[in-house]
């Protein structure tokens, strides 16, 4: 565990959509340079949680303490300004513009002429070419519209984009869904490299082996609650599966959850 104050601390976060309670009393921390895998079944509330951290959704109650202060992000722009980068599972690319435009979406390099900001295409293209080369990603032309690129190439743009912009905390919502074996391996290495720079990483995955390859800690969400918060060295895939499904809970699971899980099981 890091000794300094954590990068992000969630305190009793709850979120409801009308009558549906998506998240209940979620509390956990992420340290600088720590990789936390967020695990859970479909509909457990992982994506909702990521949106709350990134600013895409506001919690119904609870506190988000980030970088030493309580935050009330009301849009992803707020989160971004504070240094939180997000990669969503349904990709955030505009397929009708080219690779360069996507890479710089919302942060274009401009030069002002008589107070009018003018896009600096050449400068932006150079930056993208450099970033792509560094990551070993090959795209025929950076001026091609993204709609003409393959799923893997699109993922690569999105991943390279967040690596380039860095920030302090990176949220990845199933980032490797469309990637092949080799690209996934490279993606996992990327996550490690980012964390080694002192950036906190939260990544959602369904695939246990990915979580065990790269995560320092695993947080399991079940039915909108934290069902387990364990260090990788102290757990096993079997235990995680049990936490996800709520069956035969191990000793490390939180007592409240255990009761709840069993009650529901019995009922």
């Amino acid at each position: 565990m890091t000794t300094e104050a954590p990068l992000l601390r969630l305190e009793n976060i709850s979120k409801s959509f009308g009558a549906i309670q998506a998240l209940r009393d979620i509390s956990f921390e992420i340290g600088r340079g720590e990789v936390v895998a967020l695990l859970g079944d479909n509909g457990a509330g992982k994506s909702t949680l990521v949106k709350i951290i990134s600013g895409g959704l506001e919690p119904s109650s609870g506190k988000v303490v980030y970088d030493g202060a309580e935050r009330h992000f009301t849009s992803p722009a707020d989160g971004k300004a504070a240094g939180i980068e997000t990669v969503y599972q349904d990709l955030s690319l505009c397929t009708n513009v080219d690779v360069v435009a996507n890479f710089f979406m919302g942060r274009e390099i401009v030069k002002k002429y008589f107070g009018v900001p003018v896009l600096q295409e050449k400068a932006m293209e150079d930056v993208v070419a450099k970033a792509m080369a560094a990551a070993g990603t090959k795209i025929p032309s950076l001026r091609t519209n993204v709609e003409h690129l393959s799923g893997g190439q699109r993922q690569a743009i999105e991943l390279n984009r967040f690596v380039h912009w860095g920030g302090k905390l990176v949220l990845l919502d199933e980032p490797f869904a469309a990637l092949g074996v080799e690209q996934t391996r490279r993606g996992l290495e990327l996550i490690r490299r980012i964390a080694d720079q002192g950036i906190g990483v939260v990544f959602i995955t369904h695939i246990m082996s990915q979580a065990f390859q790269v995560a320092d800690r695993m947080v399991v969400i079940r039915q909108g609650k934290v069902a387990g918060d364990v260090r990788r060295q102290e757990t096993s895939p079997d235990e995680i599966v049990q936490l996800i499904t709520g069956e035969a809970l191990g000793g490390r699971a939180r007592t409240a959850d255990q009761n709840n899980g069993q009650a529901q099981h019995a009922g």
């Binding site: 505009c94 009708n96 435009a101 919302g106 401009v110 900001p117």
Partner: protein, 332 residues
């Protein structure tokens, strides 16, 4: 794998297809229709394109951003009527004058722009704040806008704008009336904004994937609202030009221009799905329609043929769009 030069050449042709079609059509008409090949005819085509060309700018911006604006024709008429009522000397005109007299030019322009911007802001309020469908909101504005024109004028017309304003319709630069230059310059200015500034880039992105734009920190609502106001103001400009051209305004001024504008925008390569289009292309689309209309007039064909042909052209334009998309897919 295509060589990059060849690919660039094909991309260039696809991007500017409507210009190539325009040149081909003009060449064809010049060869087959007597008296078509004259500077005067071409200048007339540019002059005719003024109003639809101006309206098309605002409509294109909104369609590119993924919205719709059906109100532009009525906004144009409303701005023209307000200018007519205030500054025309007979009919319902009040004949307000200034010393020096030329002040009427900037003041009437500002009023026309403000009238347009106001309707645009109302559209923006309903679409952005109340999340209503832009098709319905602007359809309503199309109807009430025209209603307001009739109500303001009592169905009568305003005539005789001051000569300081008429000057713009009469005086020519390079054979083209000054007012037509307004449309050309506005097209160039907004083409620059669309292609070379973050505002334009973000507009394209909103049209392509509003969620991604929002996540990237682009202020989607604000940009959308600004675009509605701009489209309104541009329609106001078109109304100002139309009032100058007709030296006043009538209650049914510009009826039918909405559909011509629509046709031109689609022919010019703006995709109704949003996120795709360029303003010079749209201007070429406007010129293309005007060229065909002129050809029909010169051949002495009945005017309703224009509508038949324009309707057909919209269909061809959409087909062409699909065709271009297929070629591009193969290029990538």
């Amino acid at each position: 794998m295509l060589s990059s030069n060849r690919r660039a050449a094909i991309e260039f042709v696809l991007d500017h297809l409507v210009w190539f079609i325009l040149i081909a059509v003009l060449a064809l008409f010049s060869l087959t229709i007597p008296n078509y090949f004259q500077i005067g005819i071409f200048a007339n085509i540019v002059e005719q394109s003024t109003f639809v060309g101006t309206l098309a700018i605002g409509l294109s911006l909104l369609i590119i951003a993924g919205y719709m604006d059906l109100s532009i024709e009525s906004v144009m008429a409303l701005a023209a009527m307000v200018v007519g009522i205030l500054f025309a000397k007979s009919g319902v005109g009040l004949g307000i004058g200034f010393t020096p007299a030329w002040l009427v030019v900037p003041i009437s322009l500002l009023i026309a722009l403000a009238v347009g911007a106001l309707v645009g802001a109302s559209n923006a309020f309903f679409v952005v704040r109340l999340k209503m469908n832009s098709f319905i909101v602007t359809l309503a504005a199309f109807i009430w806008g025209r209603g307001l024109v009739v109500a303001l004028s009592g169905g009568r017309s305003a005539q005789e704008l001051p000569s300081e304003l008429r000057f713009l319709a009469i005086e020519r630069f390079l054979q083209i009336p000054l007012m037509a230059w307004f449309a050309i310059i506005a097209t160039l200015v907004f083409a620059f904004i669309l292609n070379r500034t973050p505002f334009g880039r973000h507009l394209l992105m909103i049209g392509g994937n509003p969620t991604a734009a929002y996540r990237a920190g682009i202020k989607v609502d604000r940009l959308t609202a600004i675009t509605f106001v701009l489209a309104g103001a541009i329609a106001g400009l078109a109304g100002w030009l139309l009032a100058i051209r007709t030296s006043g305004a009538t209650a049914n001024l510009g009826v039918g221009m909405l559909f011509q504008t629509f046709a031109a925008v689609v022919i010019g390569g703006v995709s109704l799905k949003g996120g795709v289009g360029s303003l010079p292309g749209v201007y070429a689309g406007v010129l293309l329609l005007a060229s065909i209309q002129t050809a029909i007039n010169l051949m002495g064909m009945p005017a309703h043929f224009t509508q038949l042909i324009q309707g057909g052209m919209v269909l061809v334009a959409v087909l062409l769009d699909t065709f271009k998309l297929n070629i591009r897919k193969r290029l990538a």
